[in-house]
Structures are given as structure tokens and as C-alpha cells.
């Protein structure tokens, strides 16, 4: 029994190790750059392949947690996706 608890403890430790990958502390876009407004300029309605990765197969936007973006980046993603949809570059639905 004692052996099992030891194993359990190890397992719990492992789980905590994975946790740090699950939760990001910094935004994906401005992680490497200091200036956030400069970093999010890559998000553009013409950059379709990038926007395609930020929506589901049904065409819905990913959450901030899923896309690992800060509030400002998420607002920009929202605006650019809408522009791309309106121009027929991105679909409204799957």
C-alpha cells in the first residue's frame, strides 16, 4: 500500500509539471517583443492562413485561453476575422 501511495505522489508531481504548459502567463504575440501593438500587426485580414488557425473547423473563433492571446490581440483577431469573412476570404460557417 505504501508503495502505491509513493507512486501516487510521483504521479501527482508529474501532473503539476504538465500544468505549467497548460497555462501561459504571457500572450503568444507579444511574448518575444516588448511592444504589444507592434507585435500584433502580423494579425491581418490578408494573412488568411494565420486566421485559419485561430478559428475552429466550424469557423468559430477560439477563446483567449485556447489561442493564448492578450485582450488587445484578441480584439484585433476579432476585427480582422470579420473583415476577412466579409471579403469572402474566410467562411462564416464550416
Amino acid at each position: 500500500m505504501s508503495m502505491m501511495t509513493k507512486k501516487m505522489k510521483e504521479k501527482r508531481k508529474k501532473r503539476n509539471k504538465f500544468k505549467k504548459f497548460a497555462e501561459r502567463t504571457r500572450c503568444r504575440w507579444c511574448e518575444k517583443k516588448d511592444n504589444c501593438s507592434e507585435a500584433i500587426k502580423i494579425i491581418d485580414y490578408k494573412n488568411i492562413d494565420l486566421l485559419q488557425k485561430l478559428v475552429t473547423s466550424q469557423g468559430k473563433m477560439f477563446s483567449r485561453k485556447r489561442s493564448a492571446s492578450c485582450a488587445r490581440a484578441q480584439q484585433r483577431i476579432k476585427a480582422e476575422i470579420k473583415k476577412a469573412r466579409n471579403m469572402g476570404l474566410l467562411s462564416f460557417t464550416g
Binding site: M3, M4, K7, K11, F18, F21, R28, Y45, K46, N47, D49, K53, K83, R85, N86, M87, G88, L89, L90, S91, F92
Partner: protein
Amino acid sequence: MVVTTTLKKYEAMFLLNNAKATAETAQGVTIVSDLLKKHGAELAKVGVWDERKLAYPIENQKRGTYVLAHFTLDPAHVGNVTHEVNINEDVMRALVTALEEEFPTFRTYAEMEALRPKRDPLVETRRRRDDELDEDDMGDRGEGRDHDR
């Protein structure tokens, strides 16, 4: 009183009907540049961005030609341009966006594709995370069957 107008920089994308303007003949560029010049725009660059399949049919068309234009224009005339675009039958959709800084470098879709890094950081992080999780991950099944016996 003299009203001074400050010209602003704009970027516009036009979706043209393929029947009227094909990428080969560059008819689309003349349509767009004529339309903009009519309203007093100073063109910096006009060119075909891409000829591609549309995400959904627009005006019963499955394909279309995208023309990208960089120009300076009096902000009061932007409304006239959009109004003209709505009437024009060659142009199916248009999007005019104001630029805060200098004109960005003009890149077609093919050029943008060529510049894209091969290994996407998005994919890379996902792959790394998967590799970490694959390392003897037993899920809810416990460490092994032999320990209970």
C-alpha cells in the same frame, strides 16, 4: 474661411467579378485605378493580389480576383468611393482601411506565402506539448496492474 484638407493614406481591397476582370489581362487593375482616380486619389500602388476560390459564393460566383490598392485621398471623398463601388457591377466587394503610418510593402498572396516561415511556432508548441504528454501517460488507469496484487 479657407478649409484646409489633410490627405490620408488608405489601403483598399476590391473583389472583382472574374467574368469582367481576369488576372492575366490585368483588366482589374485598370477598373480599380480608374475608379479611384475619378475621386481624386493619388495612387501609390495598384496590383492584383490573387485570383482564388471564394470561401462562399458571392453573386453566384465561385471564384474572384482580388485587387489591392494603396493610395492617398481626402477623407471626405472616401464615402463617394464606397458609394461608387456599391453601384459598380464589376466590383463585388470592397474594403477600405485607413493606414496610420507609411504604406506597407506591397505583397501579393504568393509573395506572402513564400515569406512565411516553414516551421510555424504555433504548430511547434503544440507538437512539443504532445511529446511531453506522450511520455508514459497512463491516463486514469493508474501506474500498473501488478502493484495491487
